[in-house]
């Protein structure tokens, strides 16, 4: 199995809060970390930015793109694509699912990291992606479905991001990743979002401390938790 992971992030900040440490860890261990960002979160997740008097969609777009690029760079991302669809609500029709399937074939990931597959009470966009990613996987792995002349991808595992309030969304952590040794990188990436999502930084550090305590591992100070929607072909080295 190859050494590649694919992160599918609904909004441009999500991948940092929910998987920034894990991404940095994969990159440090020699994995290709591919990132596809579906929206810039301009409508729903840029509250900090819209408080500015001179805020406009155009300038907001440029700002969020820049944030995404810088954060991805800090975490060691191999390839980044910002698809910039409208958010709140995000729509996923046939064409967009096929684009996801193409991304899976291009990157051949061992694991897809994306939103949890249960209903996120606070976020319909996350719910949509979590509930439909397996449709893109089904297309990507089919040996007889034509997609840009790309060979079919092997079936990846699918892990789900922790949502904002786990208990209200039915999220159950099924695997933990110790991100203590890359927390400096995650902090740096989070700081990139000062203008747009500053309020997310402290809560997610707290959350990472809480998850670390739950691992009961000496030396683990920060951890990210994921659900496992489909465990196949887990690469093994991150398993407990």
């Amino acid at each position: 199995m190859g050494n590649s992971v694919l992160v599918v992030s609904g909004h441009v900040g999500d991948f940092v809060w929910r998987s920034g440490g894990t991404m940095a860890k994969f990159a440090r261990h020699g994995y290709e970390v591919h990132l596809r960002v579906l929206t810039l979160g301009l409508r729903g997740e840029s509250n900090g930015y819209w408080k500015q008097d001179d805020a406009t969609m155009e300038k907001g777009r440029a700002l969020r793109r820049e944030e995404g690029r810088r954060a991805a760079d800090i975490l060691g991302v191999t390839s980044l694509e910002l698809w910039d669809y409208d958010d709140y609500p995000l729509l996923l029709g046939r064409e967009r699912l096929e684009r996801l399937a193409v991304a899976i074939r291009e990157t051949r990931p061992a694991i897809i990291l994306t939103h949890d597959s249960q209903r996120d009470l606070f976020n319909a966009d996350h719910t949509l992606i979590g509930k439909r990613i397996h449709e893109a996987v089904a297309m990507a792995i089919s040996p007889t479905l034509e997609l840009n002349d790309l060979p079919p991808a092997p079936r990846p595992a699918i892990w789900g991001f922790e949502p904002h309030i786990a208990e209200l969304c039915g999220f159950q952590p099924q695997t933990y990743v110790d991100i203590t040794d890359v927390m400096n990188l995650k902090r740096e990436a989070m700081q990139v979002y000062q203008q747009t999502q500053k309020g997310m930084i402290a809560p997610y550090i707290t959350k990472n401390r809480l998850r670390a305590i739950q691992t009961a591992r000496p030396g683990c100070e920060f951890a990210e938790a994921f659900s496992i929607a489909d465990p196949v072909q887990n690469p093994g080295f991150l398993a407990p």
Binding site: H134, E135, A138, S142
Partner: protein
């Protein structure tokens, strides 16, 4: 089971054979009328390595699969098989197709329907799509106030049973009813062998059938059961003059 009318609605050709060939054969032997609707030929789902060469000739491959299904049907003595010819992966059941399915349900007026379970199937989203379509079409067909080409609505809601998927743990399917198919297992395997896509996984089917037999025989008290098929029971069983045993 004489006089019983069974309708099977299958997303792809392999699904109904893998999930219900034993039960189908059992009901046929005992005099039931069996109708099968195959929504797609499964060209993009039932991964057949050999099809790569034939990708340009989808029509020819569809014909090959239909012929395979007809051979399997002959072995099981199924008299009524129809193909919708929809594309699969993704299977798109729009309003028109739902209406068409509702009409067929009224025309066939089955006593019960075997189809895909309505819960999430992470390995095969076409199964969820088919199940949702059957739920909708069945509800529409069963509603007396819906006018459908002059076809009469059934007197009662139609019970629905869901095939066991290939990877049951990767889905929301739970076994609700188990049926002893020991007497029909050999015939089931013969019918499955008609499909090139199924020949590689006969072992898996056999193990699953033996696994369910353990449940059937052990906890179910069905002695002599060596092979069983399991179904979820997710449709309403509203009219029966006894709890089913």
């Amino acid at each position: 089971m004489v006089g019983q009318r069974m309708l099977i609605i299958s997303a792809h050709p392999g699904d109904f054979l893998r999930g219900g060939a034993g039960v189908i054969r059992k009901y046929r032997r005992e005099g039931a009328a069996v109708y099968v609707i195959v929504l797609s030929e499964g060209l993009r789902s039932e991964g057949i390595a050999g099809l790569q060469e034939a990708r340009a000739k989808a029509d020819a491959q569809a014909a090959v699969r239909r012929a395979e299904v007809m051979r399997a049907a002959a072995i099981l003595d199924i008299e009524h098989v129809e193909f919708c010819g929809y594309d699969d992966n993704p299977l798109e059941m729009d309003r028109e197709r739902l209406r068409s399915l509702a009409c067929r349900i009224r025309e066939i007026h089955p006593d019960f329907i075997l189809t895909h379970d309505a819960g999430r199937d992470i390995r095969n989203p076409d199964h969820e799509r088919a199940a949702r379509a059957v739920l909708v079409a069945s509800a529409v067909a069963s509603s007396p106030s819906v006018r459908l080409d002059g076809l009469p609505a059934p007197a009662a809601s139609i019970p629905l049973f869901g095939f066991e998927p290939l990877h049951p743990e990767a889905s929301a399917w739970v076994p609700g009813v188990l049926v002893d198919i020991t007497a029909d297992y050999e015939t089931k395997e013969l019918s499955l062998s008609c499909l090139a896509s199924e020949r590689e996984s006969l072992d898996i089917s056999r193990q699953q059938a033996r696994n369910r037999a353990v449940h059937c025989a052990g906890r179910g008290g069905v002695s002599g059961c060596e092979y069983a098929e399991a179904f979820s029971a997710f449709g309403p069983i509203c009219s029966h003059d006894a709890l089913v045993w």
